[in-house]
């Protein structure tokens, strides 16, 4: 069985005199390396240049709002249960009449915290959510933190900003492979 069509067959024949001289082989090898020396480099200078990661990349969490700007989360806790790393914790509260424009459901999460040191970005929370409230964004990493204080992300950092809504930007393979090719941020 052949796994790749680039494999070469092995020969155990004795080397000819030309091959035992080594020099022709070395010279052709030098030719190959010098070709690579002048070839286009594949390196992406990471912090300055970023590559499009695809629409399914799992980055920082976001708590979505609906079209009227109300938070979708109903503090059911399913995401916390699904989370294998036990990174999510929340405190539920009941919506009052005056808060109707803020929360879609009658019960909402007064506190919603993701511990980014625990999170393994598996995306099980977003799968578990019955209200399409929590997502892992494809376009934003959790930034590096240097202090423990900044590790637990509260609602202030997680809830979607209505002025800069988060949308998945490509849906078909053709779309995102086009972006993959072209997009260097």
């Amino acid at each position: 069985m052949q796994l790749t069509n680039r494999s070469k067959e092995v020969s155990k024949k004795e080397m000819t005199f030309a091959e035992r001289l080594y020099l022709p082989a070395i010279v052709s090898g030098l030719g190959i390396t010098i070709k690579h020396f002048f070839a286009k480099k594949v390196t992406i200078r990471y912090p300055e240049v970023k590559r499009y990661l695809g629409p399914v990349f799992r980055g920082q969490h976001i708590l979505k709002r609906d079209d009227e700007g109300r938070e979708r989360c109903t503090a059911c806790g399913l995401c916390a249960v699904a989370c294998p790393a036990e990174a999510i914790s929340m405190v539920a509260a009941e919506r009052t009449k005056e808060e109707k424009h803020l929360y879609r459901e009658e019960k909402y999460a007064a506190v919603y915290e993701v511990n980014m040191l625990r999170c393994i970005f598996c995306g099980l929370c977003e799968e578990a959510c019955p209200k399409q409230a929590v997502y892992l964004r494809h376009d934003q990493f959790v930034p590096v933190f240097t202090e423990r204080e900044g590790v637990v992300y509260g609602k202030d950092k997680l809830v979607e900003d209505m002025n800069a809504r988060y949308n998945r930007d490509s849906w078909t393979k053709e779309e995102w492979s086009e972006k993959w090719k072209n997009e260097r941020v």
Binding site: Q2, E9, V10, F17, L21, I26, L30, T33, K41
Partner: protein
């Protein structure tokens, strides 16, 4: 010589020293850059534009590491090892003719550390001393692996020194002088020795690789077999000295190769340039400018040599130790003797490029052998 010429001489020596050290420093960066480029990467580029401050960063790192001397090691020898390596690496540059002559107030001063009439023997002697640095370091570490690495280095260097010396003999025979300056002057213009001594050139370069412990002959350092080789126990700037001396060795040996085979400071069209410059800038200044251009020619040959060292390093995998010994004793040694024989015959008959016969015979042998060889028996890939 009077004071002025002493000062000029001292300046030349300091200049040579500084240039050698600078080149060695930047070779460490160049090595990583070239390795990167040959592997389609960029190499280090974070410290300053294109990573030009990388050597500084490395030096700072080296200096701030703990300078550790193992308890059971022989302290003085342990310190002497890297120093000796460094010393022998630098000493060779003393006799290399870096340029023609400088004219200064009626005086003519050669651009060369010391004008030795047995310069080539001096080079050879210092090269053989070089192995002591490794040997002493490996021995003083009081560690099996260091010692094994050092023994490997020593046996390899000694084996290849023989072929090295024999290939030089062919040069001496055709040049009729042991002085490096004479040898260079005989290669005036484009009459470089490589065109008369192709086989000697190949032998010499191969041996230079082995003497510098560079790939494909970098067996003294071998992580899988010997932990780190002879410098397993070294840390901080002592290790830095060992690594540094390797780069100095590389630069110096490319200079020696250029001097012996690639015309030293000679370059094609030098007479024309010389005539133009003296006509333009007067006898003295013109002469000095021409010397400077000659120096640059040698310098670029040296730099290309360093590049070649690295180019080969990132192309060729290393030999196994027995293959290394086979190559040294069973291939290069007889070949060098054959080379001497043909050079001698050529000198006797008055033909300079007689050793091309060896190249011719080899090519014909290789061609016929390749044609006659039975076709490769392929083992089907799907068994």
């Amino acid at each position: 010589m009077d004071t002025a010429s002493w000062i000029i001489k001292a300046l030349i020596i300091v200049g040579v020293f500084a240039v050698t050290l600078l080149i060695a420093t930047y070779s460490t960066l160049a090595e990583r850059k070239i390795a990167g480029f040959m592997q389609d990467r960029l190499g280090p580029d974070r410290a300053g534009p294109f990573g030009v401050f990388q050597p500084l960063a490395d030096a700072v790192k080296m200096f701030f590491k703990e300078d550790f001397i193992p308890a059971q090691a022989n302290k003085w020898l342990f310190i002497a090892g890297p120093c000796l390596s460094m010393l022998t690496a630098l000493m060779t540059s003393a006799v290399i003719p870096f340029g023609d002559t400088i004219r200064y107030e009626e005086q003519t001063i050669a651009v060369q550390g010391v004008e030795l009439n047995v310069g080539i023997l001096y080079v050879f002697g210092i090269v053989s001393l070089g192995v002591y640095g490794l040997m002493i370091g490996g021995w003083a570490s009081n560690n099996k692996f260091s010692l094994l690495g050092a023994v490997r280095a020593a046996s390899q260097n000694i084996s290849y020194e023989i072929a090295l010396g024999l290939s030089i003999i062919a040069i001496i025979m055709s040049a009729g002088s042991l002085s490096l300056r004479d040898i260079v002057n005989q290669q005036h213009g484009f009459a470089w020795n490589i065109f008369y001594q192709p086989v000697g050139f190949i032998i010499f370069v191969t041996c230079a690789f082995a003497e510098c412990n560079r790939t494909p002959f970098d067996l003294p350092e071998c992580e899988t077999e010997l932990v780190g080789g002879y410098h397993t126990e070294y840390s901080s700037m002592k290790l830095g000295f060992y690594l540094f001396s390797e780069y100095i060795n590389m630069f110096i040996s490319s200079l020696v190769v250029s001097t012996l085979y690639l015309g030293g400071f000679n370059y094609p069209g030098m007479d024309w340039v010389y005539a133009k410059l003296t006509a333009l800038a007067g006898d003295t200044t013109g002469h000095n400018l021409a010397t400077l251009i000659g120096f640059l020619a040698l310098f670029f040959k040296g730099l290309f040599g360093v590049f070649f060292f690295m180019w080969v390093r990132w192309t060729v995998p290393r030999f196994r130790f027995d293959q290394l010994m086979d190559l040294g004793w069973k291939a290069l040694f007889p070949l060098a003797i054959l080379n001497i024989f043909f050079t001698g015959a050529g000198e006797m008959l008055g033909y300079h490029g007689f050793t091309w016969i060896i190249v011719g015979i080899m090519t014909i042998l290789a061609a016929t052998n390749a044609v006659k060889a039975p076709p490769r028996k392929m083992y089907p890939a799907d068994v």
